[in-house]
């Protein structure tokens, strides 16, 4: 029986590896865009339920920051931001889904890393959201920086990059901590709220929501300033289709550059009359950027008009009025000291 199992396992492994190899070879330059155009919609892999990034609203409509980037891709290709079909993917499913071609693009809280870029056969867009490990603590405890957490009990989810990051952060400072590892998100948050641990660590983007919603009195809790690890979230596509990769990349840059040029959803029509050649190029008044990318020449205009520039998108989901209000931190333009740097669109 054991021998039989071993044989079955090795045969299966070989078949899967072979199939993976075959499908990786399927992505040839131009294939994806042609398939998307023929289908009439972009298949976009998103998180099934992460408010702010991607979650169905009360009407069952997808809404969120990453959802809007999917809309931006559709706007660029079809001039119609609604031509997206969202595929909800669990974290185990997301990479097989993009590898097998079940989705055209992944905008699902994916941290861009070297091994994912190479071993998983992906290509990453410029990061659309910079985040990292953050800590939420009680104000009364007088903790103001991560160094004050020596010996603390820290609540965290298992198997996450956060777990590894915390270990590194503490090891680098020669400090000790007691991990309280809880799988279920709700129980994890409750464990912190009820005082089982001194600090809750999570992706920094998730902590303001926890503070605002799950704590009895949000004012009693503070987020430690600073980000203690690198978690650049990016869109991902399959390796091998350079044209498709270029398009995704420039959709992201277009949202950065539009913000930098002061072109937003509110004023994009007026800006069309601008005499600035950069703005004219962006909006397709002059030049043929769209043709070079294989889409219509007003692609960037359509993105800004229908979805918005980076700031529009950010403020829609994380702005001060949103229940999960989030400071932009590093997610501001390079001209304001942030990390968003759109390459020139000449």
């Amino acid at each position: 029986m054991t021998i039989l199992k071993a044989v079955i396992r090795s045969v299966l492994a070989g078949v899967v590896a072979g199939a993976l190899g075959a499908s990786a070879a399927q992505a040839n330059s131009g294939d994806t865009l042609a398939a998307v155009k023929a289908r009439g919609e972009v298949l976009c892999g998103v998180h099934p339920a992460r408010h702010g990034f991607a979650a169905p609203d009360s009407q069952g409509k997808w809404s969120g920051f990453e959802v809007d980037f999917c809309h931006a891709v559709a706007a660029a290709i079809f001039g119609d931001a609604s031509k997206v079909r969202f595929v909800a993917l669990s974290s185990q499913q997301r990479f097989p889904a993009i590898q097998s071609g079940e989705v055209d693009v992944l905008a699902r809280n994916v941290t861009a890393t070297l091994s994912r870029d190479t071993a998983l056969g992906l290509n990453f867009s410029p990061p659309i959201f910079y985040t990292g490990t953050g800590f939420l603590v009680r104000k009364d405890d007088g903790i103001t920086k991560v160094e004050d957490l020596d010996g603390a009990a820290i609540c965290m989810a298992p198997g996450s990059t956060t777990e590894r990051n915390v270990a590194q952060i503490f090891a680098a400072r020669g400090m000790k901590y007691t991990p309280v590892v809880i799988e279920n998100n709700k129980q994890l948050v409750d464990a912190y709220v009820t005082g089982r641990c001194d600090a809750l660590t999570k992706d920094k983007a998730a902590l303001p929501g926890v503070r605002a919603v799950d704590t009895e009195n949000p004012a009693d809790h503070v987020l430690l300033p600073g980000i203690y690890s690198k978690e650049p979230l990016a869109m991902a596509v399959r390796q091998g289709d350079d044209q498709w990769y270029d398009l995704i990349k420039w959709v992201v840059y277009a949202t950065f550059n539009a913000e930098e040029m002061g072109v937003g959803q509110a004023n994009v029509d007026e800006m069309k009359a601008s005499t600035d050649p950069d703005v004219q190029t962006l909006l397709g008044v002059i030049g043929d950027n769209g043709t070079k990318l294989g889409v219509g020449n007003t692609w960037a205009y359509d993105i800004v008009k229908q979805v918005g520039n980076y700031k529009d998108i950010y403020m829609r989901h994380f702005g001060p009025d949103s229940p999960v209000a989030l400071d932009r931190d590093q997610n501001v333009l390079w001209t304001e000291g942030g990390l968003l740097y759109g390459l020139p669109m000449q």
Binding site: I8, V15, V16, A19, L20, A22, S23, Q26, P48, A49, R50, H51, A55, P56, D57, S58, Q59, G60, K61, W62, R85, F86, V87, A88, L89, S90, Q92, Q93, P96, A97, Q99, S100, G101, E102, K186, G209, A212, V213, D214, P323, V324
Partner: protein, 368 residues
Amino acid sequence: MTTASSQTRLVTAAYDPLARMSAADWLKRNLFSSVWQTLLTLVTAAVLLRFFWFVLDWGVINAVWVTSDPDVCRAATGACWAVIVEKHRPMLFGLYPYDEHWRLVLMMVIYLVTVVVSLMPRNWNLRFLVPLWLVAAVSIGVLMFGGVLGLRYVPTSEWGGLPLTMLLFTGTVLFGMPVAVLLALGRRAPLPVARGVSVVFIEALRGVPLITILFVAVNVFPLFLPAGVQVDKLLRITIGIAIFFACYQAEVIRGGLQAIPRGQYEAAASLSLTYWQTTSRIILPQALRICLPAITNHIIAAMKNTSFVIIIGLFDILTATTAVMQDPLWRKFYVEAYLFVAAVYLFFGYALSLYARKVEKWIASGRI
């Protein structure tokens, strides 16, 4: 064995000490017979009272029933049933386009009527049931997919909620039961090939978790298909769950087959009935009757197993609720939302067991 059980029955019928007992006697005898018993009774009563008081206090007295303002719920000390009123549509119907929800309501009505009608013994007649199910399947298909009769087309990726749970469950049982019967027969078949295939199939699939099968159906299977060929994800998943269900159910049915005395086979053979005649007229009807409780058990488990699709991002009622409860304004009241989902599962699960009990009675009285 037989003598022992008939003796027991005789004794109970002749002498029933409880029949003439007064309430006080009963209490003394059962609850307060010794100091230790009295103590236990009092502690249990205290715990139960406290629990029921909590349920009443939290769930009824201090509960908020209707409000569209989450702050009203936050201010209350009791349950926030308003969250269900507020969010019932995305919970029940998932990602299906909001304006088209009436189609799902209609679909569920058709579905439930069809199922209830099919479960009544007086309708057990293929000439009636087959057309009924065809009509039901076509109208449900038209309603769910649309694209004809002026209905908007809705791809399966947008299906969700309770209708999806129902479809997954029905697909599982409808595909799975015939496969289960064939596998069970195959495992006991005179042909070594059929036996071998059945054993390997059952053992291989029974030995892996359902989650693995779902992952294979969703992630691995598409890799084997030639480029451009797509098999609908929902179909793949339904078949995956159905096959898993069939492997377990086959073993249950095999148990029933083994309980049939040899004499039945020999009697059929002496009448020169063929294998299929023997199986379909003599053996299976008896075997299925014997293992009905176990079959029901497994069907109820299959209904709840559909919730496993949460890990592959299909928006059944449980995934939809989880997603809806991400809304930061209402997130606090997830317990109430999950209680609602539990009630939905309980309703269908309990209806199934009630029906199965009825069927057992019918069998005992020789009605079927």
